[in-house]
């Protein structure tokens, strides 16, 4: 049989979880990571990262809207997916995850963004015309109260929502890791460390994504990049990445030391079929290289000028995104390449223009950027534009008292 080496059970020859199932934890991870970055400013009062706060929230929302789409495309009967909500089974991790997703989408992200933008939404609902005005009017939910006291209440409630959002973000992505980690029949997945590794790799990828987006968008707007902000983000990215890498190595060392009955088969797979994606891309190029570069920026920060540091951050951010994608690939695809008899291996052939092919995966990766573009147009995350909108409204009120 094509692509099969050794002995495979008949139901192991074809991989049922395709690149779309790789994409799903990757995108969900970006959501969790972006939200954790936003919480740094809101809850932990890391003022330096403030320029990215709103962008991080909008990024999280854009990717969260996109997150279930790979799953929908993967399903043979996507129209049946709402049944997971209507008749959930308490023993199904996926069914419970549906509620975690909804909770995170509506009670955390949308609510926090709404609270944070409420003043601008009200102001824009009065300044804009036509369809935009209608959209902003709907977004105000019919309340135009932006008195200092109501904004103060928003601030307090927003803080609580972010506080609740941190464990929710952990829950959201921990759940994705849990789904894999709890599959006891698959030794490549079955590990209690899986949810923790997923959370930390999610955090580092989300932080890297927002860092790159902030630098790219600031450049496109012909504004100056706040070096204090990117230096601080890079510092957090470095620390989180160290924890992530340590956890992954702990998992690896544990597997090597334990050397259970699956070890020889998995070890062979890592040295053959997964060598390029795991050893070369994920560990060497995607982890060790950015860790060394980020270490250099932390130790010799003042010896490197802004341009060099910016270039290093862009390179590291890009490599980290590739590395985390490779990690998801190695988990999802790697877990299906070996036989549970430990006597054979199969091959994953990535198709091009099919429902679960490369083009669909690329489309679903680009889609969140379109969502983000719409969100940025509706709710600009830049402090200068927000201040301008509010200032012009204040002037208008001052000129026409009682308007």
């Amino acid at each position: 049989m094509t692509g099969v080496e050794g002995y495979m059970y008949p139901n192991e020859i074809t991989l049922y979880w395709s690149v779309l199932i790789v994409l799903y934890p990757y995108i969900t991870g970006l959501v969790a990571g972006a939200f954790i970055l936003a919480s740094l400013e809101r809850v932990f009062r890391v003022e330096a990262v403030k320029p990215t706060y709103r962008l991080a929230l909008l990024t999280a929302l854009a990717f969260l809207i996109d997150a279930p789409l790979p799953l929908q495309l993967h399903l043979g009967h996507p129209e049946r997916s709402p049944e997971m909500y209507f008749t959930p089974h308490a023993t199904s991790a996926m069914a419970m995850f549906g509620y975690v997703y909804l909770w995170y989408l509506m009670a955390v992200l949308v609510f926090e963004i709404w609270l944070d933008y409420r003043r601008e939404i009200v102001v824009r609902s009065q300044q804009t015309k036509g369809l935009l005005r209608l959209i902003y009017k709907i977004m105000t939910l019919g309340s135009s109260n932006i008195s200092p006291r109501s904004l103060h209440i928003d601030e307090k409630v927003g803080w609580v929502v972010t506080l609740v959002g941190i464990p929710s973000a952990f829950l959201l992505h921990g759940y994705v890791g849990f789904i894999f980690g709890s599959i006891k029949a698959n030794p490549w997945w079955s590990s209690p460390l899986m949810p923790v590794v997923f959370i930390f790799s999610a955090m580092v990828s989300g932080v890297a994504a927002v860092l790159l987006l902030y630098m790219a968008l600031t450049g496109l707007r012909k504004h100056t990049i706040d070096m204090r902000c990117v230096d601080t983000i890079a510092m957090y990215m470095f620390y989180i990445f160290i924890i992530d890498f340590s956890l992954e190595m702990l998992d690896l060392i544990h597997r090597v030391y334990e050397a259970d009955e699956s070890f020889r088969s998995l070890d062979f797979m890592v040295h053959t079929k997964l060598y390029f994606s795991q050893i070369v891309i994920q560990i060497f190029i995607g982890t060790l290289v950015p860790l060394v570069l980020l270490f250099i920026t932390q130790v010799w920060k003042h010896a490197l000028n802004d341009i060099v540091r910016k270039r290093i951050y862009v390179l590291c951010g890009s490599l980290i995104l590739i590395s985390v994608f490779a990690m998801r690939w190695n988990v999802v695809i790697g877990g299906q390449l070996f036989s549970k008899s430990f006597l054979g291996y199969t091959t994953y052939k990535l198709e091009l223009a099919t429902r679960e092919g490369l083009l669909a995966a690329i489309g679903l990766t680009i889609l969140p950027f379109l969502f983000l573009w719409v969100l940025i147009k509706l709710l600009p995350p830049w402090s200068d534009e927000s201040a301008q909108a509010v200032a012009s409204q204040t002037r208008r009120v001052a000129v026409v008292p009682g308007d």
């Binding site: 002995y7 495979m8 059970y9 008949p10 709402p82 008749t87 509506m106 409420r118 109260n145 109501s150």
Partner: protein
């Protein structure tokens, strides 16, 4: 009261949640079948609906009442425990009215290959062949009696040759008899 006024927008947002939840409950009331969960995590009425379906399989005991010659042939070979309807399909109608309902004979070139096409996942002692290589599309019953496919058995009746029945059964040649390839 002042607080309630300044926090009014929060109640509106909460109201949105309540509204969404109510819509969810209404839609759920419509789309979830009434008998769902009656016995378990499925639609309870399915049990009655399935029970009401006409029986299609007769069961091998019913077949064996009439086809005693086939039972005798099967008992001589490896197919002794393969139920009649596994190959012939559901035969309740035939069993109820043998005179007017005559089931069609299966095409052995297709049917046998379903089980006997070589696969690495099958046990080594299970007879398996590459059908194109082994017979080139010739129906299997040309050489094998489907009820007793033992090599050497009479293709028409399934009876074993005299020597074999006398207890000198030669081991089948895997190359010609469809041993593991």
């Amino acid at each position: 009261m002042k607080f309630l006024k300044d926090a009014g927008h929060l109640f509106r947002f909460a109201g949105l949640f309540v509204l969404a939840f109510l819509i969810f409950l209404v839609v759920r009331g419509y789309v979830v079948p009434k008998t769902f969960g009656e016995y378990g995590h499925y639609r309870g009425a399915t049990i009655v609906e399935i029970a009401a379906r006409p029986v299609k399989y007769a069961g091998h005991q019913v077949c064996e009442n009439c086809h005693t010659d086939v039972v005798a042939a099967k008992n001589l070979g490896q197919h002794a425990h393969v139920n009649c309807e596994a190959c012939h399909g559901p035969l309740a109608n035939h069993a109820n009215d043998p005179a007017s309902v005559t089931p069609a004979l299966p095409d052995t070139a297709v049917l046998c290959a379903r089980c006997h096409t070589a696969s690495a996942a099958k046990p080594k002692n299970f007879s398996q062949v590459d059908p194109a290589d082994h017979s080139g599309g010739v129906p299997c019953q040309t050489c094998h009696n489907p009820h007793n496919p033992t090599p050497g058995a009479d293709p028409a009746t399934g009876a074993m040759p005299p020597a074999a029945t006398a207890g000198t059964h030669a081991a089948p040649d895997p190359k010609t008899a469809g041993g593991a390839k």
